[in-house]
Symmetry: C2
Subunit: 95 residues, 2 copies
């Protein structure tokens, strides 16, 4: 599935709720999901871990929807086949 | 671009660094990027905001790479055209 398609799916499923909740509230949900992902990294439940990854990308797409950001375009523009800092593939940054 | 392709691009560019840094360090980077996204929401720079979205999905893909999670499969399995809770599209959850 394209990043765009996933963002559109989140729009279809959740835009009415996301836009009502607003940017601040939706960002807080994203942070909560990132925390849950952090917890899941310490458990040994691979299926649960995958679900937490799904939730983070879902809330990221929701936040992109209500801030009118095209997530795929943003990703492709910044990470255009090379590291945006050193311009190499693989990255050769020295930090 | 498919979610899978983006994850593979991050693997190509960064796996050697991500795997060396490890899960904890890479998760901390993800958290930092989510914080930067939060800051960018308060500014009025649309281009900068898009870059912060790109960084969050990039670090999420990096973390997925070193924990052997297929981000696209995880997303599609959980969000399979309906809300995973109420099974409706659009979501009709009552919370």
């Amino acid at each position: 599935m394209h990043i765009n398609e996933f963002q559109e799916l989140m729009q279809k499923l959740y835009y009415h709720r996301d836009s009502k909740r607003g940017v601040e509230g939706t960002y807080r949900w994203l942070v909560d999901e990132v925390n849950e992902l952090g917890d899941a990294l310490h458990n040994n439940d691979k299926e649960e871990l995958a679900k937490e990854f799904a939730d983070v990308i879902a809330w990221l797409a929701s936040l992109a929807n209500i801030t009118s950001v095209n997530l795929e375009l943003a990703a492709v523009n910044k990470y255009n086949n090379v590291c945006p800092k050193c311009k190499q593939s693989p990255c050769e940054c020295r930090f």
